[in-house]
Symmetry: C2
Subunit: 305 residues, 2 copies
């Protein structure tokens, strides 16, 4: 699976992932109004607005990027109606040839992680049939429960040629509270990084493993250390743009071959029309603003590689 | 909210939580067959079987226990159809007067955790309306991202009088891999425990906080230390029964007032009819076996308090 991602990155020349994390306050008035008129100011109306918003963004950007990353929480907050749109968005993007990273940060004890792995990457046996549920290409995974909580995801990666990105060093302000704590002289996130490498060793797909890592762009000195420590691990890198990281901050996430990292931007792309820089597009042409923001982001990253 | 749980524990004299974690291989043939006949061997058929199974267990046990804990992964693996049954199960249990602990172990960066908190405990604003999605009474939360990833859950607990249980020391075999690592002389889980106490201080509801902790019953010496370290924190305790912990192992999770812990059992109750001890009930009367297993579990725990 990671080879498919690499090929798409090379084809698009953009190690860029669009974070499809729709908040209602990102969605232009005209879309909200139309959906509320049709379905009411309820979960169904919200879900319809999100769908129309997502679709227009994908229609205007699918040829520029290798992948998207819908954050499932943004759909889950609208209950079943929201999750239907999560699923519909995943299918729509895959039909356009995009790879989909489900950002769900799941993780639990073994048997429960196995169910999550099935839900998002695998197949579930019902009687004599094999069925799929959300069926994304990649999933983000939380490592706090240790190896037996992560192994079921790795097993599904092997069986189905899928990929995961395990949280190692996250981009948020208080990520250091536990992750940076020194354990035998090294920060905890390095210990987690070493485990990610170990988990990924049986899961190689060319030069890189299908078991990747989430490494926040907001801590570039740490990214540099981790890049050396895990040379065959692909990094999913949040934190660029709205969260504060610059292209220079991203540089240490890449290997010398120009590969090794896929950089996510959510708000910076999907709500680009709200920025001063893209205001000229106006809310009616929000998806064209998103397209321009993707082009600018790819050029910005390209300038440091 | 924690006071409501305590009152129900005192009324039922059972600090017992039924883990509604249905696996298809727990469900008796006659239920599976009927659902597959009606809907086919597909996600809908599986979901219908789970619903009929859950409902019969709840109908036979609701008067004995204060709460249930559906593990959302077991529903999520059947996609939207499964999640509809999760929601239906939550509502059904609440209508019977049971408190519901959503076992979702969510956790992310701040804005995303806010969406999860809304999804499971809060209300989401759509236009001028406030809507609820899954609306459980408690939720389990993963702390790996630190304070800003947990705070949105705490905020919703305050605003809506709900509760959370934050993972501190989990019950699975490899939980020690990261959680037990020494940080400045103390294991990481103690550092997490101290943070849980801190997060809970603004969230007191009587003697206990609405911010609780998940403490696996499988490590009783650690439970004893944590019980002393966090006297006003309620413990959600998995690991009893099928995972290996005995009533003696549970004892250190309780305070001297006989409160402070709610003990979960999933397989041991919902699939009781498969055990030698309850075989006499037979698959047709699986829910009566579950009822007997709850009575036995409550007596077993009662014997050490």
């Amino acid at each position: 699976m990671i080879q498919q991602l690499i090929q798409k990155i090379q084809k698009t020349k953009a190690p860029v992932c669009i974070g499809l994390d729709p908040m209602l306050n990102y969605i232009p008035e005209h879309i909200l109004k139309a959906s509320f008129r049709e379905f009411g100011e309820n979960l169904e109306g919200a879900a319809d607005a999100i769908w129309n918003y997502n679709r227009e963004i994908v229609d205007h950007t699918w040829d520029l990027v290798p992948c998207v990353k819908p954050q499932i929480a943004m759909y889950e907050q609208f209950g079943i109606e929201g999750l239907k749109i999560y699923e519909k968005t995943v299918r729509y993007c895959q039909d356009k040839g995009l790879l989909v990273i489900g950002d769900a940060k799941r993780g639990d004890i073994g048997s429960t992680s196995a169910a999550y792995a099935t839900a998002h990457l695998g197949k579930v046996k019902v009687g004599d049939s094999l069925c799929t549920a959300f069926n994304t290409d990649f999933l983000t995974v939380n490592p706090y429960l240790g190896t037996d909580g992560v192994k079921p995801f790795v097993d599904v990666c092997k069986a189905e040629d899928k990929g995961i990105f395990v949280l190692v060093k996250t981009s948020n302000p208080s990520s250091g509270e536990f992750q940076d704590k020194l354990v035998g002289g090294n920060p905890l996130y390095e210990l987690v990084a070493d485990k990610v490498v170990e988990w990924g060793q049986g899961c190689m797909d060319g030069e890189y493993s299908n078991v990747g890592a989430v490494i926040g762009a907001t801590y570039p000195e740490m990214s540099a250390v981790l890049r050396k420590r895990m040379p065959h691990t692909y990094f999913l890198v949040p934190g660029y743009g709205a969260q504060g990281a610059t292209a220079q901050d991203l540089k240490p996430c890449f290997n010398e071959d120009g590969l090794g990292a896929i950089v996510n931007s959510s708000r910076g792309i999907i709500a680009a029309y709200k920025q001063e820089k893209y205001k000229k597009f106006g809310p009616e042409h929000f998806a064209e603003a998103s397209r321009q923001a993707v082009i600018d982001m790819a050029a910005d990253i390209g300038s440091v590689l």
